[in-house]
Symmetry: C2
Subunit: 241 residues, 2 copies
């Protein structure tokens, strides 16, 4: 593990890169202990503070975890799906909000990906997935539910749909698309009338997944996309006045 003597960036960034590359290349394997901070600072010929900054960078990406005490240290972390979800969602959310991605573009990405899950979900859904979907539909019908809670339940419903596809890699990829849209969705005020329509479509989707009818599921998702877009257009038009 060597750092580039010609590099222009910070030492801590270079050291982080060197270690990260070693992890990605498989030279450092899961649960392997890195040298102690003191040893690393000798190896790289920098101070302990600089090594620590590098390690914190890696910790921020969940590439390592640290433990205090004798026989503690920094260990290569097994990146769990859970941790990856979290990072994926944060990144997606910021990407969408900072780059002025239009509601339509984000919505298209989301529903395109969700439709892709439908055929798999129809094949593999378990009673658990169906139960979650039904439960969220019921929640969405509760009177007095705030717009935020309605949106959160919407996310949970779609999350169940995606998980029903039974492919964790797919679930991970979609976490960003679905949850990253939440700030945009939260801008919409859901009237009783529009909630009713969304619940109707959710029910159609859940029924289609239950009866293993991929075509209907995909069509309903498309309809939901159109309807969501319409709601957004209305909101933005009203706001522009």
């Amino acid at each position: 593990m060597k750092i580039d003597p010609n590099a222009t960036s910070d030492l801590s960034a270079q050291i982080a890169k060197a270690i990260r590359d070693a992890i990605v290349a498989g030279q450092l394997i899961v649960d392997e202990r890195l040298p102690s901070e003191a040893e690393l600072s000798e190896q790289f010929n920098v101070s302990r503070a600089t090594v620590r900054e590098a390690l914190k960078r890696l910790a921020a990406q969940s590439l390592i975890r640290t433990q205090r005490g004798a026989f503690g240290g920094a260990f290569v972390n097994r990146l769990s799906f859970e941790e990856a979800y979290g990072q994926q969602i944060t990144t997606s959310t910021l990407l969408i909000s900072m780059n002025e991605v239009s509601f339509e573009t984000a919505c298209e990405a989301r529903y395109t990906l969700e439709r892709a899950c439908a055929p798999l979900a129809v094949d593999r859904r378990t009673p658990d997935h169906l139960a979650t979907m039904r439960a969220e539909i019921v929640r969405q019908g509760q009177p007095g539910l705030s717009d935020e809670s309605f949106c959160a339940s919407d996310v949970a419903f779609h999350r169940a749909l995606v998980d029903a596809a039974g492919n964790p890699v797919l679930s991970y990829q979609l976490a960003g698309a679905v949850e990253g849209m939440q700030p945009l969705m939260n801008m919409i005020t859901f009237t009783a009338r529009s909630r009713e329509e969304i619940i109707r479509l959710h029910t159609t989707i859940a029924d289609a997944i239950a009866t293993r009818d991929a075509r209907i599921a995909e069509c309903s998702l498309s309809e939901l996309e159109r309807y969501t877009n319409q709601l957004a257009r209305d909101v933005f038009a009203a706001r522009a006045k």
Copy 2:
């Protein structure tokens, strides 16, 4: 911006979280300058070293960038699609390699998502996208091409297909699915015979995108998925002997 006095985690992690939350919530907007390290260390009542560790965590996620000199400091970074791609690919690659995701599962996720792009790509592809795809097909036919280069070209081909869908959010989500599989793909030895078949399918796909035939594009992608899986099974079977 306050840190939780009851929290158990490191101070630097808590401070990073506080700032991250402020960014995600929109309290700190793009290009806004954070207080200097000295000011932050006063605000949070910690040493400058601790503040720096927190800032390095945020820098690792591309949430901030720092600049030296008077009127320098830490600024909220506009998370570009480029940066997000990179993180997404690193995370996906590690997620797949560390969690013993089967070739089949990763492959399924990848082709499911790619098929979803096909209808959009058919509508929106530009001559540029088609040209890139054709160029990569030509490259793949070059004799003497190493397996690694063949894989890289394969990724570039599929990347062009995804980009042809004309939705940057979709491109971002798929970057992980396509490129994260590369280590797995690199385990396959591509014989002249199998390259021929892959090139044939790539040509069919490119033709379908050119003639705006989504059905053929999707079917060819499915065929490519089956074929790739078959190749992988053969490799693993041969290795098991």
